[in-house]
Amino acid sequence: MKIDYFFIALKNLRRRGLRSWLTLLGVVIGIIAVVSLISLGDGLKMAVNSQFGISTTEVITVQAGGISGYGPPGSGAVNPVTIKDAEAIEKLDKVQYTIPRRVKSLELEYNNKLVIGFGTDVPEGEKEKFMYSTVDITAKSGRLLQDGDTNKIVIGHDLADTTKNGFDKPLSVGDNLKVNGKDYRIVGILEKKGSFIWDKIVLIKSPEMKSLLNLNDDVNIIAVKVISKDLMAQAKLDIENLMRKRRNVKIGHEDFQVSTPEAELATVNSILTGIQIFIALIAGISIFVGAVGIVNTMTTSVLERTKEIGIMKAIGAKNSDVFFQFFIEAGMLGLVGGIIGVSIGALIGFAGTQGINSFIGSQSPFNINWILILATLVGSFVIGSISGIAPAMKAANMNPVEALRK
C-alpha cells in the first residue's frame, strides 16, 4: 500500500518549480564530489604507484638532496652521490650489492626529427639481471641489453609508437636511432609499463653511456639490494650513518635521502589521502547545505499545500498518512539529487581517469563501483527524508479545520 505514496510523491515532485530544484544543488554538488573523488582517487593512487616502477621491496634508494623519486633532477644538486658512495655502501654487512644509476636527458634523432628523451644505464654482470628484476622490465620485441652490447640500445614502449614518440614514424627492432649524435641500433622494445618515464626510456649499457656523455663518478641514484627484507629498516639506518660520516653532516641536516619504496609510496599515499579527506569535507559541507535546502523547500511546500493537507485529513487521512506523504516526498527529492550527482560524478571520474592516463601515460582502469553508487543513492534518499522529518511533522499536526480555511 505504501508504494502508492511513492507514486503520489513522484507526481508532486513533477509539478515543482525551478526554485525547489535549485535547493537541491548542495546535495548534487556534494554527491558529485563524493562519487568522482572515490572513483578518481583509486585511479590516482594506482597511477602514482605505477610511476615508481619498482617491484622489489628489498631495495633501498640513496640520492642527493631532499627530492624523492627516480627522475633526472638531482644531478645538479649541491653534492651528488657518487660511485664511491655506492662502493662504500656495498661494504656494509647487511647489503648484498649496490647499483649506481644514472638518469640523463638525451637528444634523440630519427626521421630528421629531434626529441629530448631520458636515458638510463644498465650495469654490467650480475647487477644487470638485478636491475631488470628491480624495475620489472621485459622486452615486448627483441631482447634486453646484455654485457658486451656496444652501439645498441633498448627503448621504451611509447618511444616506438609513432603517435607518441614525436618522430612521426614508428621505430622497431633493427632500426637505427641517433642518440646525442651517435647511431645506435635498437635491439629491443619494452612492454608498456604505464609510467611516463619508463615508457619513453632509452636503455644503454653503463660504459657506453659514460663515454657517450663523458661522465664522471657522479650518479643520480644508488639502488641498494639488502640481504633480506627483514633487515630493511636496519640497513636504512646503517646507510644513513655511513653517508652522514662520508659527507660530514649532522643528524637533521642530511643533504641526501635514503628511502625504501614502501616509505615513498606511503608518503604519496598520505598526500592523496589528505586530498581525499579535504574533498570529503567539502562534500560533507555541501550535502549539509543541500539538506538544509530540502528542509527549506519542504517547509515552503507544506505551507503552500496547507489546504491540500486539510482536504486529505477531511477525506480520512491520518496524521501518519500525511507525515508519510511528505516524508517520502523529501526522500525522493534527495534521491533525485543523488541520481543527478552520481551521474555527473561518474562522468567526472571517468573523464578524470582518462585525463590522468593520457597525461602521465598510465593505464589505470575506470571501475564503476556499483556498491558505491547504490550506497550513495540510498544515502541521498535517507538525507532527503531526514530533512523532511520536521516539515512532514508540521504538516501532519495541522488542524484540519484551519488547514481547510486556507
Binding site: N12, K307, I311, A314, I315, A317, D321, L404
Partner: protein, 242 residues
Amino acid sequence: MQTKKSAPKSKKEEEIIIQLKEVHKIYDMGESKVHALDSLDLKIHKGEFVAIMGPSGSGKSTAMNLVGSLDIPTKGAIYLDHHNIADLHESDLAQIRGKKIGFIFQQFNLIPNLTAKENVMLPMLFQGISREEREDKAEELLKLVELEDRMDHYPKQLSGGQQQRVAIARALSNDPEVILADEPTGNLDTHTGEIVMEFLSKLNKQGKTIIMVTHSPELAQKHARIVYWLKDGKLEKITRKK
C-alpha cells in the same frame, strides 16, 4: 458496507447517525472569546436529507466542522455512529471520518496534481484498500456521475460542475453513510447547481444521509426534508417538509 451493528437499542435511537448534545464551541481570540456555538442540540437520523441554514456568522460552518468530526467541541458531546468523538484517538477519528462521512465542499477541493480518477481513489487509499479495488471503484463512481470520459483529466482541465461531480464521486468512494455538503452549489451557476443537487437527491433516495450547509433558504427548502435554522450559534427553529 454496513457490517457492524451496535448493541440493540430502541429503534428510534438506532437510526440516529450523528448527534450533538449541548455543544459549545468557543474560539479564544486572545482578548475576547467568540461563542460560535451555544448549547446546540442536533439529531440526524439515517437516510434523511438535512439542511443547516443560517446567515454568515450564525455558526453553521462551525456546526459543519463538528458534525463532520473535523473539530472537537469546547463543551458537550458529539456522537458519530454512537462513538463520542472526543474519546477517539486522532487516527481512529480520521479512520471513522474517512469511512462514515463523505465531504463535498463549496470550492470542490480536489487535489490539483491528481487526475479525476486518482482523486476519487485517494480516500480509499487511506482506508487501506488495494489498488485494483480502488481503480475499479473509482471508475464505477465516475461513471455514476457521468464523467467516464474525463477520468484522466486534471481538475484544472474540468469545468466547475464537472469538478463538483468528481468531488461527489470522491465523497462516495468509501460508501459512507453520510454525505456532508458545504454550500455545494455556491460556486456554480444555477443550471449546473441544479444538476449537482439532483445527484444529491438521487443519493438520498438510495439511502444516503445528506447534510447540506447553506445560506440559501430557497435551496434548503427545495431539497431538504428537515431544515435546522441557526442564528448566533443557537438553534432558532426546525422546519420540516410535509
